[in-house]
Amino acid sequence: MKIYCLSGHPTLPCNVLKFKSTTIMLDCGLDMTSTLNFLPLPLVQSPRLSNLPGWSLKDGNAFLDKELKECSGHVFVDSVPEFCLPETELIDLSTVDVILISNYHCMMALPYITEHTGFTGTVYATEPTVQIGRLLMEELVNFIERVPKAQSASLWKNKDIQRLLPSPLKDAVEVSTWRRCYTMQEVNSALSKIQLVGYSQKIELFGAVQVTPLSSGYALGSSNWIIQSHYEKVSYVSGSSLLTTHPQPMDQASLKNSDVLVLTGLTQIPTANPDGMVGEFCSNLALTVRNGGNVLVPCYPSGVIYDLLECLYQYIDSAGLSSVPLYFISPVANSSLEFSQIFAEWLCHNKQSKVYLPEPPFPHAELIQTNKLKHYPSIHGDFSNDFRQPCVVFTGHPSLRFGDVVHFMELWGKSSLNTVIFTEPDFSYLEALAPYQPLAMKCIYCPIDTRLNFIQVSKLLKEVQPLHVVCPEQYTQPPPAQSHRMDLMIDCQPPAMSYRRAEVLALPFKRRYEKIEIMPELADSLVPMEIKPGISLATVSAVLHTKDNKHLLQPPPRPAQPTSGKKRKRVSDDVPDCKVLKPLLSGSIPVEQFVQTLEKHGFSDIKVEDTAKGHIVLLQEAETLIQIEEDSTHIICDNDEMLRVRLRDLVLKFLQKF
């Protein structure tokens, strides 16, 4: 059993598990932090961004000034943003049989894998995962395609040149493999390869293993996966949450008794308590709006935004902010808000029961109804007519490199009355803000990450007790910035095995058993003999039939009857002929009694010698030697077949046959 690690990002994993002749890709995350090295894509012509000076080397060489621009002390690539793909060289991805997706954030690299690697397998995911994943991809493609950029920079990627660049460009990894965003066509093609599954549904893979998605409590339709054969069980835990938010709660019990537990997607901000962060979010929002400022919340179109809207629904009235408009701007805003209301079976119990009232499970329906929340596909069109300040705007992309958020950053950045509140933990907020500096607007960082923290992990591991834990290397040591926080790492016995990007990890786990079925008529014919109290044995003579990784013992064919001249063979004749089977022997030969028996049968002049392994019985007269050892008996005589057979039969009398 091996794990191939294709992504170094602990919360955007992409691993391949080889298990019992199957090759299973676990998640397909896309690391988008690479886009932070690029200039933002402004929706509206920005004089500031279009007039940035080109960057030149220390010696004044300016050959890169078209590709690299200097902006507030940092150097950015002036090109269409590119993403860092999972490793494609470590393993031949065309051999991947299936891809299991755990949540919609972890499938963003899917089109790169399914469309460009010769992948011919199936992708499994739950319905909300696919639908919301589609929305995320659609938004991404839309954000990038609607600001066409003629230039695609590649010179800077040259290894010799990259070395000369300032940080962080100099330290960017695998730049040569960075790719531009996929197209909608690729997205559609990739999504068409997905097969929908439900929680606890058992899916057979080639008869070799069975995979089952379990609720992971993190997002709508998010799942952990159980991959099991008859005797082995691997659990894949990715992006799970024990907090009570909108999704169905996490199913922990089914993870018990795993041989291997692969643990990824823990919280990225282990020191931040989501409740406290929501409080921080609300307070800062209220303070800003009260002073006449606007609040910008860069966010994904699904996920935490539902919880934030629910929280604001309760909060704005109490804070006297009912008249402040909330805007949600995304090409998929409408679909996202509506989808969330129809996936009732994937929601937590509270929300599920609302559906039967019937009421919409999320209160944002009421916010929309009362005109407190308005949503628009983009800043163009209706939005510009309705736009009223002060207001709260939720829009993407959290990287601040593309999407409508770029426009609001340019628009509101100059006033200290306004505030940008970062709630998504995926991007460093300081890096995201770098191209907008100097910035007058207030910046608040309240990352809300509901995924498991280390305390919860240690409780979970105590509860489910896997034999081995496998996790990204980042989880086996405290975060570099807080090296003294020994509580911010996985602490388990035996210590967790860690992996890093482009590493292959052989799991210390040997498969020892295989299940074989016996046909009923064959089982009927067996006659077990008790050889020890409680243990019975029976010999089985059968044909092992193996197909689709399933093994079956069938009755042996009858000895071939001489067919009466007919040449045509029956189907059963395909089974190879078997020789008449000799019985198996067991037991031991008591030497003294054996000698007495020999004497009774007329042998004389018998001599017994003890050897290291047993005894030798010498029949001096017959010039014959019988070697009796623990596991074998040999009769050595000189070309006297009659004598050998006589002696053999005497030996056999002492043994049991079956």
């Binding site: 409080g279 921080e280 307070s283 303070l287 305390i455 003294h484 926080r485």
Partner: protein, 802 residues
């Protein structure tokens, strides 16, 4: 015993011994027992028994019945105990031999144990003491505890009766009974069964706690060796009880301060008890008034150990900040700290609580290590918020264990707040304020932690020394306040109402003390805090609204209004209007009560809005308050009326004979005019109505107010003679009672009011009101009748069956 009860008693006794009668519930029996106690205290028990033969019958009858309920049996035994406590009754009853033969008799035992003649009589109850020994292990804790107490009684009595002269230390001449008990205790102390040891220790603790006769010294001399042996066992059995015993002995005045062997044993206990038990022992020792200095030093070191460990594990150079420098770490203590999260948190919380208890005591150790303790408190808080840097593996472990531990955080904040009372180096004060600010800022702080942090911050701010320089407050305070108000702003917007509430309470307290300080005013007015407090008057949570009322009222008293408001005066005026609106319209009681308190305070302090037209203000408020459904609001209305009375007629007379008599201030205006003003604001209407309020506190308060008024008026001679038509006056007050007076009377005449006041028996009313509302139901007659009534019903049922 009054006649009515004497008449009812025989019937009740008959009901109690009748197994067919339903057993009255336990509460009734308890009440009855209490009554018997009161009665026997007041009159001769023997006479009572002789006059009520039914009681003797009850007691003798009860012991013969087989199927009596345990409740009634236990009751009867306890009644017997009450009577038998007097020698003549004891002999009259002759119950000595009866009691111990009953199972479940333990509750009565304690009461029976008092008479010394019980023990001095020759073999009153053979095997009684043995029975009590076995009852010590009874499954019922009450029985076990009663048995243990009884043994102590018996021991004390036998010693008191037996050894009048100086007791012999060997105990050869001790009474048999005492010898027997001592033998039992000694045997139990050597037992390997922990509960037995605990029982023995508890007997000793109670003995030394109750009896301070010289013989207890002899007792200790005899037993101390056995007690000392316990300290050599591993693990030490019944450590908790052992600590109690040691402290009890140490506190006993019999031993004085010279008992070397006792102190040696305590010192040994300090060094060998586990961290969980050694803390209370150390604290107890430090609280003793007389105790060897060396032992105090040792106890204090023990108490400081956990914090010393924490400091050592996190401070780079153990320089001036170290606690217990140069001492080796106690391995047991370190183990306890590292064993588990709960043991670490428990140990630290206990230590912090012990030190907090010790700090204000006069006998606290001196010199008090204020600076290291402050350093330790700051460090513990830093460990909890994850910002401490450990310098050893122990530190790393502590860091991981304490990160996010709310329990320790709360204890450390309390402790830190307490440390504000001492003098600390400026650098550490800065650190303490920084850690408090950090705690207030942190989004992860739970509401309870925030509340504690606010309390601690308040204590530190208020105790900060004032300087004589241009700045009113300390040099660092203005900057701190600026940052604090930024945090407060955010906390006032918190979605969690508990947080908003604690932030408002903090604001109220701070402005109450610092409202006049220029630095404070400057920082506050530069922030949005006043405006936010104003907005919270509309909070959906009633507690928050109440706190917002108090806070804005306080701010307004100091003229701390939102300066950005275009019309300052208008804003102030509108606060009065807003508070009146809350008083008349808020659906919850808390905000309305808060408004009344603010108004009372405003009236007392002469708030500008009130003094503009005081009479109008009082009239409006009283009118609204009188209609309020919440009695506390009405009481507060009367309080406000009292303040107004004081202002109109002069302050109340001091009745203290030793008070310096101030020259009687001349009343502000003539009485008639003053009374007319009172009539005008509707004060009498409100007060008379309140006099007959269905809520007793309101009526009481009104009674007090009217009495005060009557006394005041009495000092004016001029009006005494006035006597208007008596009939109409007499009738008037009762009209309020009959709720005829739904509308306030317009412009009552002062004379009529005065006459009404004189006609009322206010003293009588006051004493009636002083009795609790259930005094009738609580009377013994009522109790006996109730119990009989329960039985009576049964008889009725029986009749129906035929």
């Amino acid at each position: 015993m009054d006649l009515e009860c004497s008449r009812l008693l025989p019937a009740l006794c008959a009901v109690l011994v009748d197994p067919r009668q339903p057993v009255a519930d336990d509460t009734c029996l308890e009440k009855l027992l209490d009554w018997f106690k009161t009665v026997t205290e007041g009159e001769s028990s023997l006479l009572l028994l002789q006059e009520h033969p039914c009681l003797v019958e009850l007691l003798s009858h009860v012991l013969k019945l087989q199927d009596l309920s345990p409740g009634v049996l236990s009751f009867s035994l306890r009644v017997a105990g009450i009577f038998a406590a007097q020698e003549n009754c004891f002999q009259y009853l002759q119950v000595g031999s009866l009691l111990f033969s009953q199972p479940g008799g333990a509750p009565g035992l304690r009461l029976l144990s008092a008479p010394p003649f019980f023990l001095s009589s020759p073999a009153p109850c053979p095997g009684a003491v043995d029975t009590i020994f076995s009852l010590q292990g009874d499954s019922s804790l009450f029985v076990a505890s009663a048995a243990s107490q009884l043994l102590v009684h018996i021991l004390a009595l036998s010693m008191r009766g037996g050894a009048k002269e100086q007791p012999c230390l060997q105990g050869d001449d001790w009474p048999t009974c005492a010898q027997k008990i001592m033998g039992h205790v000694e045997e139990s102390l050597c037992s390997t069964v922990t509960p037995k040891v605990t029982q023995a220790l508890n007997i000793l603790t109670t003995t030394f706690g109750r009896c301070q006769s010289p013989w207890t010294e002899a007792l200790w001399v005899r037993l101390s060796a056995s007690v000392a042996c316990l300290l050599e066992r591993d693990p030490i059995p019944a450590a908790h009880s052992l600590v109690d015993l040691l402290l009890c002995v140490a506190r006993s005045p019999v031993f004085g301060s010279s008992n070397g062997s006792l102190w040696e044993m305590v010192a040994q206990a300090l060094s060998c008890l586990g961290p969980a038990h050694v803390g209370p022992l150390a604290l107890g020792i430090l609280k003793l008034e007389h105790c060897p200095q060396a032992l105090r030093t040792q106890a204090f070191q023990v108490l400081l150990q956990p914090l010393a460990c924490v400091l050592k594990a996190t401070v780079q150079a153990p320089g001036p900040l170290g606690l217990l420098d140069g001492m080796a770490d106690d391995a047991m203590m370190v183990d306890a700290l590292l064993a588990s999260k709960s043991s670490c948190a428990g140990l630290l919380c206990r230590t912090l609580a012990h030190l907090e208890e010790l700090q204000p005591l006069p006998q606290r150790p001196s010199p008090w290590p204020q600076a290291p303790l402050l350093g330790a408190a700051v460090t513990v808080l830093r460990l909890c918020d994850g910002s401490a840097t450990p310098v050893s593996s122990v530190g790393g472990h502590l860091c991981a264990t304490l990160a996010g531990c709310v329990r320790v955080q709360r204890a450390a904040l309390d402790f830190l707040g307490m440390l504000s009372q001492g003098t600390s180096p400026q650098e550490l004060v800065t650190q303490a304020l920084a850690v408090l600010l950090e705690c207030l800022k942190s989004p992860g702080s739970s509401p309870t932690v925030l509340k504690k942090a606010f309390q601690a911050t308040l204590r530190w701010l208020l105790s900060s020394p004032k300087t004589s320089s241009c700045s009113d407050l300390g040099p660092h305070i203005p900057q701190f306040l600026r940052e604090l108000f930024l945090v407060l702003q955010k906390r006032l917007c918190s979605p969690c109402w508990e947080v908003r509430d604690s932030a408002l309470e903090f604001l109220t307290q701070l402005s109450r003390h610092w409202g006049g300080e220029a630095d404070f005013r400057c920082a506050l007015l530069a922030s949005e805090v006043p405006e936010l407090a104003w907005q919270l008057l509309q909070d959906p949570e009633s507690y928050v609204r109440a706190s917002a009322v108090t806070a804005t009222g306080q701010l307004s008293s100091w003229g701390l209004h939102d300066p950005t408001s275009p019309q300052h005066a208008v804003a102030r005026q509108s606060l009065l209007r807003e508070l009146l609106r809350i008083l008349s319209a808020d659906s919850e009681g808390f905000p309305r009560r808060a408004v009344m308190q603010v108004f009372t305070e405003w009236l007392r302090d002469g708030h500008a809005d009130v003094t503009r037209d005081t009479e109008q203000f009082v009239a409006t408020v009283l009118q609204v308050a009188s209609r309020d459904l919440d009695w506390e609001v009405r009481v507060q209305g009367l309080e406000l009326a009292l303040v107004f009375l004081g202002q109109t007629l002069g302050p109340p007379h001091t009745h203290c004979p030793y008070a310096v008599a101030l020259p009687e201030a001349a009343p502000a205006r003539p009485l008639t005019e003053a009374l007319r003003a009172l009539c005008h604001v509707g004060l009498f209407d409100f007060a008379f109505r309140a006099l007959f309020d269905c809520d007793r506190p309101v009526a009481q308060k009104s009674c007090d107010l009217l009495l005060f008024l009557r006394d005041k008026i009495a000092s004016y001679n001029s009006l005494r003679e006035a006597s208007p038509n008596t009939d109409s006056v007499e009738a008037a007050p009762w009209r309020w009672r009959a709720h005829e007076q739904t509308q306030p009377q317009e412009d009552q005449e002062p004379e009529a009011v005065l006459a009404m006041l004189r006609s009322l028996d206010l003293e009588g009313l006051q004493s009636t009101l002083a009795e609790s509302s259930d005094h009738v139901e609580k009377s013994p007659q009522s109790l006996l009748q109730d119990m009989l009534a329960t039985g009576g019903f049964l008889q009725g049922d029986e009749a129906d069956c035929y």
